[in-house]
């Protein structure tokens, strides 16, 4: 077995040093009925060639975005990742290190986390950000729980179109708290927070001033959710928020069937001690040199146990690094340019689709994603177009289809989608006439 370095001779020598005859003698405290004498009924070991072949065959049964026109978004976006990003995150020193508990020999990871926290804070307009969360949905649920701790109030108010899966995750996280419920009304005296997504699930960017006022009047926290983080290169920073949580997969992280992605969490500094997750801070070493270290861990599970702010331990370290590298490549100029390009591709898509007969575009505004009202069922359309190699978007209820464009979307792709929808629309009309 290529990954196991001990030789039979090593094993014999080591058993002798330990003073036992066989490895089984080391398992003395295991009850007999729990010890398997035979191998478990699973395939035997295989070489690299066989494993690679088998997994390649499985991969080939999927239809990746690069294979054709692709307009699916809904919280996970098809963006380009520069080659440098994947090269750097595969450096052994980043890929195969643990959470940086020994800062003397982990300054690489710690410095990158500090840069990540700085970028997230700057993007969101918040004072502080943590070292990452699992994904946008769990970051949002953690924000709701933090608002509950900060305010001592029970209810979670959701304003407008929050990603439905984010709402489901919030409901899972609170299901054992009998006093907490999710509401969609305006906040009142028992509101812990108002959660608003921008751009919302239908792609509509949200104005936050009125919600800020409602929160100030009711004493609730304003939680702003951003799940297309690239939008922050064109839209204003959500500075009205108390907490900004969301998903940063768009920068440096492959779609990878929904995970691993990259949750982020930022807030105002007065809530620092109620934050979930890891934080990296600046300090000095014995020689007075600037250094970075995990800090404020008295909020965390390994110190506070049942009184911790969250049970989170391992987070998305490597993808926080990927994000930081990609953001560094983009920088001030590239990030804003990429955001604008995305918007312009979405404008092109909107202009072309608005020329298809019987199609309506209900959005008042959008960043890189919007709703299309088709003359036929959206779910059916998605299925039919998939058979033609077009991933058309995310079917909402009825005839509504959510479509996204990114820098990867070409004018030719847009033409293919528009053409296919024209055909469908015409067929639908023929059927209606008949």
């Amino acid at each position: 077995m290529r990954y196991l370095p001990l030789t039979p001779r090593d094993r014999t020598e080591m058993l002798k040093s330990i003073g036992v005859k066989a490895v089984d003698d080391l398992y003395v405290s295991v009850p007999k009925e729990a010890k398997l004498s035979a191998l478990i009924d699973l395939p035997a070991h295989q070489g690299e060639i066989e494993v690679e072949k088998a997994l390649t065959l499985m991969a080939q049964k999927n239809h990746p975005a690069a294979n054709g026109p692709f307009f699916l978004g809904a919280g996970c976006y098809n963006h380009h990742i520069p080659a440098t990003v994947d090269h750097l995150i595969q450096r052994s020193e980043f890929l195969t290190s643990y959470t940086p508990y020994q800062p003397e020999i982990s300054q690489g990871t710690l410095t990158a986390i500090f840069e990540f926290q700085t970028i997230i804070a700057n993007l969101t307009g918040m004072d502080i950000a943590n070292a990452s969360m699992y994904d946008g949905a769990t970051a949002t649920a953690e924000a709701a729980l933090m608002a509950k701790r900060v305010t001592g109030r029970a209810n979670i108010h959701i304003h407008g179109a929050l990603h439905p899966q984010y709402r489901e995750v919030i409901e899972t996280y609170i299901r054992n708290y009998s006093d907490v419920s999710v509401k969609t009304s305006a906040p009142d005296a028992n509101a812990a927070c108002v959660i608003v997504q921008t751009p919302d699930f239908h792609g509509e960017p949200q104005a936050l001033a009125a919600l800020r006022k409602q929160c100030d009047e009711s004493g609730a926290l304003l939680v702003v959710v951003v799940n297309e983080i690239l939008s922050l290169g064109l839209l204003p920073a959500p500075v009205e928020a108390d907490i900004v949580a969301g998903e940063a997969q768009s920068i440096g992280v492959p779609m990878s069937f929904g995970g691993p992605h990259l949750g982020f969490f930022a807030c105002r500094k007065q809530y620092l001690r109620q934050m979930p997750g890891r934080l990296c801070g600046e300090t000095v070493d014995k020689d007075g040199r600037r250094s970075f270290v995990l800090t404020l861990s008295t909020r965390e599970q390994h110190i506070r146990r049942e009184k911790a702010t969250s049970n989170i331990c391992t987070n998305q370290g490597l993808f926080a690094l990927a994000f930081t590298i990609h953001m560094s490549l983009l920088g001030e100029i590239g990030f804003k340019k990429l955001a604008r390009l995305n918007h312009e591709r979405a404008c092109l898509l909107a202009d072309r689709l608005s020329k298809v007969k019987n199609i309506k575009l209900p959005n008042k505004s959008f960043f890189n994603e919007f709703v299309v009202e088709l003359p036929v069922s959206a779910a059916q359309t998605v299925k039919e177009l998939a058979a033609k190699g077009i991933i058309a978007g995310y079917p909402l209820a009825g005839n509504k289809l959510l479509v996204a464009a990114t820098e990867m979307t070409s004018e030719a792709d847009i033409e293919v989608l528009a053409g296919a929808l024209e055909k469908l629309s015409a067929t639908a009309r023929t059927k209606e006439v008949a």
Binding site: L6, L15, L26, Y27, E33, A34, L36, D41, A44, Q46, V51, T56, L57, A59, N62, H63, P64, A65, A66, C76, L88, E93, F94, T96, S97, P100, S106, T109, T111, A112, F114, E115, T118, A121, N122, L123, I128, S132, Y134, D135, A137, T172, F257, G258, G259, G281, E282, V284, V293, E306, S310, T314, N315, Q316, G317, L318, E332, K336, L338, K383
Partner: protein, 494 residues
């Protein structure tokens, strides 16, 4: 204090400023088409300033390569962190996870276009079911702690279905901090079971704490003292008789994989850490992946989405009234499942069994060689990790922390220190199966040298370590007292 222009390191030892300190000179590390600056349809004016560095691709490459040189990694040496299972991370796993058919697919694509991805998840579920003896598995949880959350929620749901929600979860004092944090997050009160002087659960105390308000026991087995709980079957039996469930924290599954199935010692729910036992890389703090396996009785309550196989097609079930609901966006940490599958297929049933045996052998070898120099708090053999303390060194002023920092000076990553909490000055050493005997012998020699230096009265030198690492000991008090959590232009000026 930032790095001066004259001192960016000596030899191959680097010093590196933050990227934010490289100036804003209008450089950019990507070439994108020029926007046409058509009128915006966002409803807002364009944002004019974000606050990001302006650097070219070579600068970014050099910055992060230089940073990487400040890190220790499993690829560069022994990383014996107890309960963390820092084993070799095969690059085949990385390669297959990057195939376009895996990395380039969207979680909401039509089912017909993602059959291969569903096959991966289904196959990993089957492997984990066979290895645990628990028939139903979900890959949705994002990490070990998230798996604990899923498992305890499932147990809560099961009691709910029986008509009585219980209020308490029992947890040994040697448990990982995530266990009580999870139970609390699920709305439970926690009660702590003491350990005996042998480092295992005090079964009498456990029995006296058991009543019809106890929902579950969360037990790590092998436990965090590196010992297999000898009375685990009895514990499971009385627990079940009281109508409670047995949650097993699977962080230490590396001692058992392919050799012992937790279902056979009475477990109802367990989580796996794919980033421990199944070699997916730790990545400096994630991503992990924390699947759970459950008994048939608990299967209805597993989180959505669930994957079912109908004839030759796989389907995703997203709505299920019995389920605890959705834990995470989309379909778990799929990319980690691909890597773990490559690992499992490479080892096979025979190789995985050898993994457990070699891991246990390596830990016992270290224990046998250091018994005379270090205090061993518990009798007998250990499982895949061994526990020592600083009791014999402390009188001379050398603590566990000094031993850890001296290992750094000698180019070895320290073991887990001051955990488990039940032992003073704990040093928990988990070498894993992917170390050579020579590597273990080197570690043993350095540990022996530290013990000898202590006896020789060289405490001051040990207390001063490390001196050759990129940084010496850090002022952690200052970091917490005056938190600086992001870079601002002002910091550099000062």
């Amino acid at each position: 204090m930032t790095v001066s222009e004259l001192d960016k390191g000596r030899g191959l030892n680097v010093e590196e400023n933050l990227l934010f300190e490289k100036g804003t000179n209008g450089a950019c590390g990507v070439d994108l088409p020029e926007p046409k600056n058509t009128p915006l349809r966002t409803g807002f004016a364009a944002r004019d300033y974000v606050g990001l560095p302006e650097v070219s691709e070579p600068q970014v490459m050099r910055h992060f390569v230089r940073l990487s040189k400040l890190n220790y990694a499993i690829d560069s040496g022994l990383y014996p962190l107890g309960s963390c299972t820092m084993k070799h991370n095969p690059r085949l796993n990385e390669k297959v996870s990057r195939l376009p058919g895996f990395a380039g697919i969207h979680p909401l694509q039509p089912e017909g276009t993602i059959q291969g991805a569903l096959e991966v998840i289904y196959t990993v579920q089957q492997w984990l079911a066979k290895l645990s003896g628990l028939p139903h598995v979900t890959l949705n949880p994002a990490a070990g702690a998230h798996g604990e959350f899923a498992g305890i929620m499932v147990i809560h749901r099961a009691h709910e279905a029986k008509g009585k929600v219980r209020k308490t979860v029992l947890i040994p004092d040697s448990a990982h901090g995530t266990n009580p944090a999870t139970a609390a997050a699920c709305g439970y009160e926690t009660k702590t079971i003491p350990s005996t002087k042998d480092g295992t659960v005090d079964v009498d105390a456990f029995k006296s704490m058991l009543n019809d308000d106890v929902a579950a026991l969360m037990l790590t087995n092998p436990n965090t003292c590196g010992l297999f709980e000898p009375r685990v079957k009895e514990i499971a039996d009385v627990l079940h008789k009281a109508g409670a469930y047995f949650y097993c924290d699977g962080a230490n599954f590396n001692a058992l994989v392919g050799r012992i199935r937790p279902a056979d010692f009475g477990v109802d729910v367990m989580h796996f850490n794919l980033h421990k036992t199944f070699s997916t890389p730790h990545g400096g703090g994630g991503p992990g992946c924390g699947p759970i396996a459950v008994s048939a009785e608990l299967a209805p309550y597993l989180p959505v989405p669930k994957i079912v196989k109908e004839k030759d097609a796989y389907k995703l079930v997203t709505e299920d009234k019995d389920s605890i609901g959705r834990l995470k966006g989309f379909n778990g940490q799929f990319g980690m499942a691909v890597r773990a599958l490559a690992y499992m297929m490479s080892h096979g049933s025979d190789g995985l069994r050898q993994v457990a045996e070699d891991a246990v052998l390596n830990a016992n070898y270290i224990l046998s060689q250091l018994r005379d120099q270090y205090h061993v708090p518990f009798p007998g053999h250990c499982m895949h990790e061994c526990l020592l303390t600083d009791k014999l060194q402390k009188d001379k002023g050398v603590t566990t922390n000094d031993i850890a920092k001296t290992l750094i000076e000698y180019g070895i990553h320290p073991m887990t220190v001051y955990f488990p909490l039940v032992v003073q000055g704990a040093m928990l050493i988990e070498p894993t199966e992917t170390e050579t005997k020579a590597s273990l012998d080197h570690f043993i020699a350095v540990m022996k040298m530290i013990a000898e230096q202590t006896i020789a009265g060289n405490s001051a030198a040990l207390q001063n370590n490390p001196v050759s690492s990129p940084r010496r000991r850090l002022d952690e008090v200052q970091a917490a007292r005056n938190p600086v959590l992001k870079w601002t232009a002002k910091d550099t000026a000062a």
